[in-house]
Amino acid sequence: MSERRRLLLFLFGAVGLAAIYCTGIRNLPPFGDYRGPYGDVIAQLAVYQRHATDTVNAITYDYRGFDTLGEEFILFSAVTGVALLLRPDKEERKRRNQQQSNPASFQDRAALSETVQVLTTALFGFSILFGFYIGTHGQLTPGGGFQGGVIIAGAPMLLYVAENFEAFRRILSHPLIELFEALGAAAYALVGFVALAVGAPFLTNVLPLGKTGDVFSSGTIALISACVGVEVAAGFMLVTFEYLREILAREKNEED
């Protein structure tokens, strides 16, 4: 199909789609007039039932925790998929071997100043700490395992910015990263199994709920949140590594 015809076809479709959408939307309650009841019921119940002050996380990791299990495995299968798609095949391995025997550098770069290097190293520690804080206080304040995990995964990128390629490669290519990613996902399911073992339905919050407002409160919410954090952090690092694998191999050759 020519581009013109495709756009004409789309124009017809888009007008129709907009028409369906807009006629439907007119019957919705006006903006700013949420009527409930699902959200309101849970907002009222969560603090009493689960000793969690952040209702959103109580829903994510407890009331609708089964959704989040699915979501974690969406992440798991996407990370596996990226690794599957970007796996080096025969041709690439051959090319890499050739490169190793002939390490010609073809791109020169100005060295970064030491100030930048020191600064990024400090930021590295800080972002890991910040990620931990966000990840462990999910049941109390905005945040949670997912957000914390992404922040922690961002920390090694600072090493890349600081051109500390060797450290960057060592961290990201470590087999443990992959193991942590999978175990984080498995641990979520295992928390569910604990409930089964004591005779409650899957993913029931069977741990003591603790005192509202405490870091260790709200039972399995904090635990699951931590598992998610591990998986997300490792998963994002893995994806980054898969994309950069080839480029890192080159940088390594340059350093040799």
Binding site: G13, A14, F73, L84, L179, E181, L196
Partner: protein
């Protein structure tokens, strides 16, 4: 009784362990563990199906049972239909894992975890009673499917196919999410039963728009025309064992999603209208289009893919008739089609393994030595034409007993798809006829999945198709299956018993009179299969018959105007998707408001 959560949790946990320890586990251990997890699912799903025949039970995750009318958490409703589909999924997944035993390229050992995630997602999709959870499992299923589809990264064509698949299905998922948001905005609930109760009787513009959005999302998965373009592209490039799951169950689950929503949410809303005719028309068009395109193909997997489109169209048609009998027919037909189509894909996989190609012109006369595979392939072809003795025949006679005019569509689709498969069989396994016409996609090289040095056909290669064909024949004569399909259809349509189960923990089965099994017209079935065989011979010997009688060769030849539409461009596919949605929405407004 073991918890139904294990149907999801066991494959997922196994997947995570296999993924995490892939560097340390030898291939054989991975194979066996994955196979064991799938077998576990098969057994547990069978147990629950048996249980569901007596009582429909509900399972609340996190023990969040409803408080009053308010459903707090996510539940599984263990009804016969959902459990039965979980059995079918697990059966096909077990066979697919068996088929890929030992030799098949496992993509750096990422293949097994993804297959198990795929299995878990499909089981969850069949059982869940929550609208958003349905979306989550839809996405989980899609993500695993996208990755599996691009397993063969040696050539660019699998990646192009996987990309088109991923883009269209992701757009579909977000269309679906828009529909979910509309329903949530108006009812404030996410449980299917609760939404159904809250909406009861309402069919205003919002409900119809939500219906259009949700159904579009599912029909993209079910590959209804014009949402079907991704399917042949994805099937042509995915590994055999993945194709088996795509064609055998994933596409059908797309339709099942639409059926589940219709039965729970929309049935009450559109009770007085003729909205369900929308599915009849869409199904008939899809069935005819798929059959015509199927006959024109010479790439074996694409040929089978188009036949899947055609048969899913027939199922959509049966769904649209919306009666106990047509639904019984649908369930029987679905089971039969899944088994037969899986067997055919396995056979295509054996051909690819042995001769390193799935192109009909290339394989012409090459496979004379594979007598058993040929026999299974021919049986599959007859099965698609709904020959007597196959489940498809029983399913078809249920549907046509409901609406006799549908016989024309069934006949057309069955004869053309069955004829196409038989034609391939005559040429490839028997070497009959003249030079084979070819087309552009048949010339594209298909990357073999197995290493060069193992051309032997091991037991784990021929056993899966044999089991599939055997099962599709055996179930025909097994009375409990027919009874189960009947009671499953009755309870699937009965929204009150579904809602009762959600709010009261369970619904005991109502024992109804024995199913009316319409006498399958044996003579008609025989004539139909002979017609398919005739069409196959006609195509094979097309050059030796009088010129005036050569019309099948015109269908088989290059049909440029039609084939050009299947352009392989994601932009085209998305444009068609919007057009299809417009047509569907317009029809929904017309039928839904008019009634």
């Amino acid at each position: 009784m073991l918890s139904p959560a294990l149907l999801i949790a066991v494959p997922l946990t196994t997947a995570a362990f296999l993924g995490g320890f892939r560097r340390w586990l030898p291939r054989s251990v991975t194979d066996v563990l994955a196979l064991l997890a799938a077998l576990f699912n098969l057994i547990l799903a069978c147990l629950w199906t048996h249980h569901a025949l007596h009582v429909t039970q509900v399972y609340w995750f996190g023990n969040w049972f409803p408080r009053g009318t308010m459903v707090l958490g996510i539940g599984f409703v263990m009804d016969v239909t959902g459990c039965g589909l979980a059995v079918l999924t697990a059966f096909l997944a077990t066979l697919a894992l068996l088929f890929s035993f030992r030799y098949t390229d496992s993509g750096g050992d990422h293949y097994h975890p993804l297959m198990l995630v795929f299995l878990a997602a499909m089981s969850g999709f069949a059982l869940t009673a929550d609208l958003f959870n349905l979306f989550v499992f839809f996405e989980l299923m899609s993500t695993a499917a996208f990755a599996l589809c691009g397993l063969k990264t040696q050539e660019p064509s699998p990646l192009a196919g996987a990309f088109n698949f991923a883009v269209t299905n992701t757009v579909a998922a977000f269309i679906m999410l828009t529909g979910i948001a509309m329903l949530y905005a108006t009812t404030g609930a996410l449980n299917l039963a609760q939404i159904g109760l809250l909406l009861h009787g309402r069919h205003d513009r919002l409900v119809i728009a939500a219906f259009a959005f949700l159904v579009t999302g599912f029909l993209v998965k079910a590959a209804a025309v014009p949402f079907h373009f991704w399917l042949p592209d994805a099937h042509a490039v995915a590994p055999t064992s993945v194709c088996v799951l795509f064609s055998g169950i994933m596409v059908e689950l797309g339709l099942f999603g639409a059926m589940r929503l219709y039965a729970t949410i929309f049935q009450g809303c559109f009770a007085g209208t003729r909205l369900h005719w929308l599915f009849v028309v869409s199904g008939a068009i899809t069935a005819v289009w798929g059959a015509v395109m199927c006959f024109a193909e010479h790439h074996l997997k694409r040929l089978l893919a188009f036949s899947t489109i055609s048969h899913t169209g027939l199922m959509t048609l049966a769904f649209g008739l919306w009666s106990r009998q047509s639904l019984t027919g649908l369930l029987v037909y679905l089971t039969g089609h899944s088994l037969v189509k899986a067997a055919l894909f396995f056979c295509a996989g054996i051909l690819l393994h042995r001769f390193r190609s799935v192109s009909e012109p290339y394989l012409f006369g090459k496979a004379k030595s594979l007598a058993w595979t040929g026999l299974l392939w021919m049986a599959g072809g007859l099965g698609l034409a709904a020959a007597p003795g196959f489940l498809l025949d029983i399913g078809e006679s249920h549907v046509t007993a409901q609406a006799p005019w549908t016989e024309a569509v069934f006949l057309f689709a069955g004869v053309l798809t069955g004829g196409a498969v038989l034609r391939v069989g005559l040429r490839v396994f028997l070497g009959l006829g003249d030079a084979v016409p070819t087309d552009e996609s048949a010339k594209v090289r298909e990357e073999p999945e197995t290493p060069e040095q193992s051309p032997i056909i091991n037991w784990f290669l021929w056993l899966p198709p044999l089991l599939c064909i055997a099962a599709s024949l055996a179930l025909t004569f097994w009375q409990p299956f027919a009874n189960g399909a009947w009671s499953s259809a009755i309870r699937f349509m009965d929204f009150r018993s579904y809602a009762h189960a959600v709010y009261q923990q369970f619904t005991p089965a109502v024992i109804l009179a024995a199913p009316k099994t319409p006498a399958s017209d044996l003579i008609f079935a025989v004539v139909r299969s002979l017609l398919a065989v005739g069409v196959a011979f006609w195509a094979v010997y097309r050059l030796r018959i009088p010129r005036a009688l050569r019309w099948p060769s015109h269908i088989e030849g290059p049909m440029h105007p039609f084939r050009e539409i299947q352009s392989g461009h994601p932009g085209d596919y998305v444009a068609w998707l919007t057009v299809g949605m417009t047509l569907l929405g317009a029809a929904a407004f017309w039928l839904g408001l008019g009634g």
